[in-house]
Symmetry: D2
Subunit: 95 residues, 4 copies
């Protein structure tokens, strides 16, 4: 559907914008280190960047899993098992 | 298959045995608190119990996901979408 | 101070009560596995127990760190360094 | 000591180099999204960046805590309590 494609492109742009902000935050932290700013202030910023990355990760993961369902129904068991194996590896529950 | 059922029962027993050990660890920690043992020793034990629970969780989750694929393929899109929604809620990536 | 001792005993009892509830939850999960209940319901319970343990851990850790300050001031640098080394090991940031 | 200052500057440069690599990884992920690369490949890269950030965080935190001890002993109880409060906030164990 065209509408779905537009929505996907929109979210696409959202993730790029988020990563743009994250790149800016990383540059800011480098500057903080160069300026020998207080350690705890740097740590709080590093943690914020990790949280921002996790947010992007969650968004992409959610859409990936939603998309998986359609693929699993159309692509047969082998493809579905591969998708599940990828997710298990990602969540470190393979072994 | 009968063999698969035996294997499932085996792993079933494995998880029960692990949870039995975890129950023992929790009882041990309660005793440590009653005896006013050193905080850091208690903390290390609490962390160990969480790691043991996470191990059980990983095992059950891995089997659930393996099983999900088969169900998702056989049960139609609505059932598959529900399984995915459950996983997303579990991983806190819903919404 | 006597009041502080009473408060400590109170929180002491709080942690024991929490661990009592956690022990009950673990017993409940074992029963769920024996009754072959739905995997995702078991996983949600396991995750809840981990969160409850983390809460107890956070409470004990907070009090331990508060106590550390007093010890660090009275006990000299060697004792203080040992406390910090223990915390670093606990947070897995040693080396 | 001069030697200690040199060592600090060395580790300083280490963290800057690491953050430089992280900035490069973030730029790479943005390109992957623009090129509409496979979601799971993007997720694996995002997770790797988070792990790299956590490594930098761990290094800075370890040195901060080592440094804290000396300050806490020299600076009096109020300063020590503030350092501990900062750490508790960072670890999200402040009540």
């Amino acid at each position: 559907m065209q509408m779905q494609e537009q929505q996907l492109a929109l979210r696409h742009g959202e993730e790029l914008a988020r990563l743009g902000r994250i790149a800016g935050q990383v540059a800011g932290i480098r500057k903080m280190i160069e300026e020998e700013r207080y350690c705890m202030d740097i740590l709080v910023q590093l943690k914020a960047v990790r949280a921002a990355l996790k947010k992007v990760e969650g968004n992409i993961l959610r859409r990936h899993m939603n998309h998986c369902v359609v693929q699993a129904l159309g692509g047969g068991q082998q493809e579905a098992e591969q998708k599940v194996a990828e997710l298990q590896k990602y969540f470190q529950i393979d072994s």
